[in-house]
């Protein structure tokens, strides 16, 4: 009985009865679509952050004075170079410029290729500046003077470069009002990975005001942040899934009620109870897998081609308008969604299928 033609028969029967399943198919696909989109967004953001982190050095050193970050100077740089195992120390200049007209901050980042009179801006900053008629050039307002620089290029923005203005180091110091020997933070290059932890511990011992963050610690912070956000979604999702499955069980039961005669005929020509259960299981598997794959493809398009309108605001806030997510597809995540959605779905149709299969034949035929 259970061979290829059995499966063939179930598929044909499913095509004939497709109306019965349309409701659950679309609602279920929608649920999977939302959960996949959320996870795609958070994974993509996390990946971008981690890639940016990997391009930095192994240890980041900042100057913390009573809870405020203060600039560092050359004396610290020389002292850090003395530590065994540190190959190189690079002083970085970076900071935030308050653009009061729109009540927001721009991230000022150093880009060495730029000359003294031009800047690059990220796509969303460029768009914003246009509104304020800064099309060709931009005026930085600093304490004593006005620095006017040409906008040479608008660069595409991802999660890191969004909200960013790129200037060279000379201009960065002028905009952020930093002295020539002042640095925002240091990046330490440590070639031997095993030494990172020791060096990170040693620095605060030498200078209690310095904070040393090894790369793995920052990485684990990012992980915590995004796992946590994902966790909240999961809880909300469980609530919606549970109500969906109750709905599904009732819907399937009522639909199956109208199919009693058909099943009775099948039983009377020799289908056993477990054959009927298997038949319904195969049909529902096809529906649920169809919904699963359709939802995943749709949410891929939604997030990575259309940049997730509406949903991205949950993660990035209202201000971010021009951002493109780096496509990241994690098989583990798809496996997770599979377990989360497909298995409870199949579990919730077991009892209705059984009820349908055990119907009394002579009763149903009346």
């Amino acid at each position: 009985m259970r061979n290829k033609s059995f499966i063939d028969f179930s598929v044909r029967l499913l095509i004939k009865e497709k109306k019965d399943y349309l409701f659950s198919f679309f609602i279920f696909a929608f649920i999977i679509f939302i959960v996949t989109a959320v996870l795609f967004i958070s994974n993509s953001i996390k990946r971008d952050l981690l890639v940016a982190l990997a391009n930095e050095g192994q240890v980041i050193v900042k100057n913390n004075k009573g809870g405020h970050y203060a600039p560092l100077n050359d004396a610290y740089l020389d002292a850090l170079l003395e530590i065994n195992g540190v190959d190189d120390v690079v002083g970085k200049v970076d900071g935030y410029y308050n653009f009061a007209q729109d009540r927001r901050y721009f991230h000022v980042v150093v880009e060495e290729d730029l000359n003294d009179s031009s800047i690059y801006v990220s796509e969303d900053v460029g768009e914003l500046l246009k509104k304020f008629k800064y099309e060709k050039e931009f005026n930085f307002l600093v304490k004593d003077t006005l620095i006017t620089l040409d906008i040479a290029k608008v660069v595409a923005s991802n999660i890191i470069s969004n909200n960013t203005i790129f200037v060279n180091e000379y201009n960065a110091r002028r905009v952020l009002e930093m002295d020539d020997d002042a640095y925002s933070y240091f990046v330490l290059k440590v070639p031997n990975e095993d030494e990172i932890e020791n060096i990170a511990l040693k620095i605060p011992k030498l200078y209690p005001n310095l904070v040393a963050l090894p790369d793995y610690e920052v990485e684990s912070d990012y992980d915590h942040l995004y796992y946590y956000k994902g966790g909240i979604f999961m809880i909300l999702y469980i609530v919606s899934l549970v109500s969906f499955f109750i709905l599904l069980k009732n819907q399937i039961s009522s639909v199956y009620g109208s199919r009693r005669k058909e099943i009775a005929i099948l039983r009377s020509i020799g289908f056993s109870i477990s054959d009927i259960i298997l038949l319904k299981f195969i049909q529902n598997s096809i529906v649920v897998f169809g919904a699963y794959f359709m939802a995943i493809i749709l949410s891929y398009l939604y997030v990575f081609f259309f940049d997730a309108p509406l949903l991205r605001n949950i993660f990035l806030g209202e201000h971010v308008t021009h951002i493109s997510f780096t496509p990241v597809v994690d098989i583990k995540m798809l496996f997770l969604i599979f377990i989360f959605t497909v298995i409870p779905y199949l579990a919730s149709i077991l009892i209705p299928s059984w009820k349908l299969a055990i119907e009394d034949i002579s009763e149903a035929m009346k």
């Binding site: 996870l39 990485e219 684990s220 992980d223 915590h224 796992y227 946590y228 994902g230 966790g231 909240i232 979604f233 999961m234 809880i235 469980i238 899934l241 109870i273 477990s274 259960i277 583990k332 496996f335 997770l336 377990i339 989360f340 298995i343 409870p344 199949l346 579990a347 077991l350 009892i351 299928s353 059984w354 299969a357 055990i358």
Partner: protein
């Protein structure tokens, strides 16, 4: 640690709860069946019970399928936890993070074995005309249900007690001392491993279930040590990297899943005929064939790493 920290753990608990609920509902049917079952009676009750029997079978078969998928998922989640737990580089650190971890892992494998035995008994039962093993099958299921309830509690204890601030040991620390059984050297261990493998093949050929039972349990134990301390080093191509979990990671092409699953499947088919015989008194030696098949596959994969390393480099590690 909060169990809400990681999506996969939340999902795992959700699915486990669904399964327990399903099994719990079928428990009512089981109780009724055990109480009133009488195959020779032609009452309405008996017909209703026979119909319920189908439901319970379907639910348990579904549970078993999901449990196997969930086990893979569980191991995968342990790997995901590794970056969050300080000091852990792979699942070793995470599983050893508290006293429940190792127990839970062994317990999970044990319940999977039992569920597998249940499937076979169920098949045999359905083949008989009068459901001869029905009662035994359902008593076994009640035991399994209780065990799965304990497993759920254990899981909860394990995940809530993972420390996120105190560092745990990494596999390079846990497995650095060669903690081999019976005070054996690695070389002797590998010799015994192959010897045992050959004797299992012989025993399988002569269909000796009870002997196969003993040998397979021994083999499972030895194979664990051999993979961890000997074959693993060839998988990683590094003499000091001894870990049963790292081979599950992407860097080693997920080969660990194949290695461990063939070992477990193989020993399962070797052990279960004897258990089935002692439970329901029926000989079912056909499974021993699969025992030989999967163990050969397992040994072939392990040996392949050693041989290919030798051929490429001309030395053993």
């Amino acid at each position: 640690m909060s169990i809400f920290l990681l999506d996969s753990i939340v999902v795992m608990f959700f699915v486990e709860t669904v399964l327990l609920l399903l099994m719990g509902t079928s428990m009512f049917a089981v109780a009724k069946i055990l109480k009133y079952w009488n195959f020779d009676a032609s009452t309405t009750l008996q017909y209703a019970l026979e119909k319920k029997n189908y439901l319970v079978n379907t639910i348990i078969l579904f549970t078993i399928g999901v449990k196997i998928i969930l086990f893979v998922f569980f191991v995968k989640s342990l790997d995901d936890l590794a970056p969050l737990v300080p000091g852990a580089m792979c699942a070793t650190g995470v599983i050893g993070a508290n006293k429940f971890g190792n127990t839970l892992l062994i317990y999970k494998i044990f319940t999977l074995f039992l569920l597998g035995v249940w499937v076979v008994i169920n098949r045999l039962d359905l083949k008989t005309k009068k459901f001869d093993y029905l009662r035994k099958k359902y008593y076994l299921f009640i035991v399994i249900f209780a065990l799965l309830g304990i497993e759920f509690a254990l899981e909860l204890l394990y995940f809530t007690n993972i420390p996120l601030n105190t560092p745990v040991f990494c596999c390079s620390v846990v497995f650095v001392v060669e903690n081999l059984p019976f005070g054996l050297e690695t070389v002797d261990l590998v010799k015994i491993f192959y010897l045992l493998f050959v004797s299992i093949l012989v025993v399988d050929y002569f269909n000796k279930a009870s002997l196969s039972f003993v040998l397979n349990i021994l083999f499972l134990l030895l194979a664990y040590y051999c993979v961890t301390y000997f074959f693993g080093t060839y998988v990683y191509e590094e003499p000091n990297h001894k870990c049963p979990f790292c081979m599950l990671q992407k860097e080693y092409h997920y080969i660990g899943y194949l290695i461990w699953s063939t070992l477990f499947l193989g020993t399962y088919f070797g052990i279960s005929p004897h258990i089935i015989y002692s439970l329901i008194g029926k000989k079912y030696q056909r499974l021993l064939r699969y025992n030989a098949l999967f163990l050969t596959l397992f040994v072939a994969i392990c040996s392949y790493y050693v041989i290919s390393f030798y051929l490429r480099n001309g030395v053993f590690l």
